[in-house]
Structures are given as structure tokens and as C-alpha cells.
Symmetry: C2
Subunit: 158 residues, 2 copies
Amino acid sequence: MATPESERPGFLLPLLLLAGFRTLIDDLHAELARQGHPDLRPLHGFVLQAVGADGTTATELGQRLGISKQAAGKTVDRLVALGYLERADDPRDARRKLVRTTERGVDGLRRSAAVFDQLRARWAATLGADRVDAMEDDLRRVTPAHFFRLDVPGWFGG
Amino acid sequence: MATPESERPGFLLPLLLLAGFRTLIDDLHAELARQGHPDLRPLHGFVLQAVGADGTTATELGQRLGISKQAAGKTVDRLVALGYLERADDPRDARRKLVRTTERGVDGLRRSAAVFDQLRARWAATLGADRVDAMEDDLRRVTPAHFFRLDVPGWFGG
DNA sequence: GTACGATCGTCAACGTGGTTGTCCAAATCG
DNA sequence: CGATTTGGACAACCACGTTGACGATCGTAC
């Protein structure tokens, strides 16, 4: 109680949050690489998640991710080249190109979910399940809900 | 105790950590822009911090940030152009180009520290100071110490 | 039925940030 | 003194984002 805030400089908090995020993502992709998905990048998992089971279009994907339709289209191109997504014509609208996850994409998504669960369990084993729950609850209270913007590289970089 | 992990899917944890990091950084730069630093990007603060009060060289900066000397040099170029850093010759080694923060750079750093303190205080007001302390302590236990890699865009993106 | 506006996808140009490879100049070492 | 190491810069490239422009297609209003 006699410890003012000067004991805890504010700049450490974002650093620790970033470090936490990054270790989780790094561990995930190290494990995914071991499980046959060495080409999946951190961004790709979010994109696959955003495409979802029903498929979508590049424009809609851009809206979901908070990026332009052009950027979304380019990312889809790369994931198509890697075999995680596929394009198809929309029979009801010749302008639209449907984007769907392939079998490989579904496999990557399934494995990602499993690894994330394992990583969370590892944190719970270290910190206690209640502490991890509390961390999530607290973060939810200080961050906007429905947070799903993926313009991180551009945002972080420039 | 009767609630298995399925109640808390693991993929939310990294999302919440990222959201927490990002809201802090976004709020910081919105405030910095208001205080006369509209050109400071999220990355720049970390770079200025890494340059430090004593100055350094591009190669050393790259080592501190975990990026190549070329990448560090390019970032220094941009910060020099923005007036936050300056180069000088090393009188004792003609190969080395010293990199120092300018007055403007120091001002940005000082304001950043102040805003980070305010943001942390805001979290403490919402969650309770003990919860924020606990979050930091917990994160420290599950992340490598001395974590200061700044290759985030390249790491996240490619 | 046709003309018009909105929408989808793509192409092009550009900016930021990262990488590797190459090379020169300067310092250090034998 | 010559040989090696080191610092900085240049070039080419990749991943990711942006805006602007432009066909092709759809829906609608007339």
C-alpha cells in the first residue's frame, strides 16, 4: 500500500502482453511445423479462422479482418498457393469468387485449436487455472469486445 | 472444478493478449499524436528506447532488437528523417556511425513513459491495482526474461 | 429492354519493415 | 606489413499493408 505506481513503470505492461502473445504464437507454430505445417505463418491461422467453414469472398474477408479487399485478395493468393484455401466461382453471381478452406486448411485449423488448448493448459499448470481465467477476464474488461483486426503488420510497422 | 478446459478454448488467450497490447499501443499513439508527435509509429518507441541515452550504432542496435544490421540501419534512416535520431562520426573508429536520440526523440520518449503510466493507472482503476500487478507477475512467469525482440512485422507477417 | 449506379475482383504503384548477399573502408591481429 | 575481422551501405527480394483505377457483372429504375 505504500508502494506508489513508480514501482511499476507503465511501459512494462505492453511489453509483457506482447511477450505473452508472442511466446504462445511462436510455440504454436513450432508445433505446427512439427505436425506437417511448416509454411503456416502467424497471420495465416487468423485468416483461415476468418474464412470459416462456410467460405466467403475476398471483399467480405477484408471487412472481417479490417483490411482492404486488395490486401485480403493478396493474402488469399498466398494461402491458395500453399494449398490452404481454394477459389471457386459463385454460380449465382459471376462477379464473386468464393474462397473456401481446403482439407489441408481444415487440418491446420484443427491442429491449431488443439495446440492452443495445450498451451493454455500449460499456463494453467504453471500459474493455476484460476489465474489464467482471471487474466482472460481482466483483459476482456479493458479491451473492446469483438476485437478482430488483423492489420497488425501494417499497423505496427507503418 | 467440474468445468473442463473446453469451457475456455485456448485460442482466446493469445487474442486477448494481442488485444490488450494493441489497445495500449493505440491509445499511446493517439495521445502522442495529440501531444505533437503524430509521426511516431508503434515501432519507433521501441527503437528509441533501444538506442538509449548513451547512443549506439546500427549494428549494435540490430543485435539489441533481434534484427539484422541492415534493417536497423533502414529504421534509423527513417527516424533520422523524422528528426528523432541523429548520426555522428565516432572519433575513435572511423567505421562506426554513432546513433543518438535528438531533443525531439527524448521528448517523445519522456511523453511515452508518462502516457504508459497513465494507461496502466487506468487499468488499475478499472481492475484494481492488485489485478494488474498479478497480470504482470503471471506474464513474467510464462515468458522468457529479457524479452526484447522487435522483428514483429517480419515475424508476424513473413 | 435498356441505361445507370453499385459491387467484386484485379492490376498497378507505392510505403514500411524484414531478409540475404555483396562490397569497401577501416581497425585489429599475427 | 599483410591477412582477417568488423561496420556501414547498396541492391535485390519478400510479406503485408495502402490508394487509385478499371473492366465485368448485377440490380434497379425508367
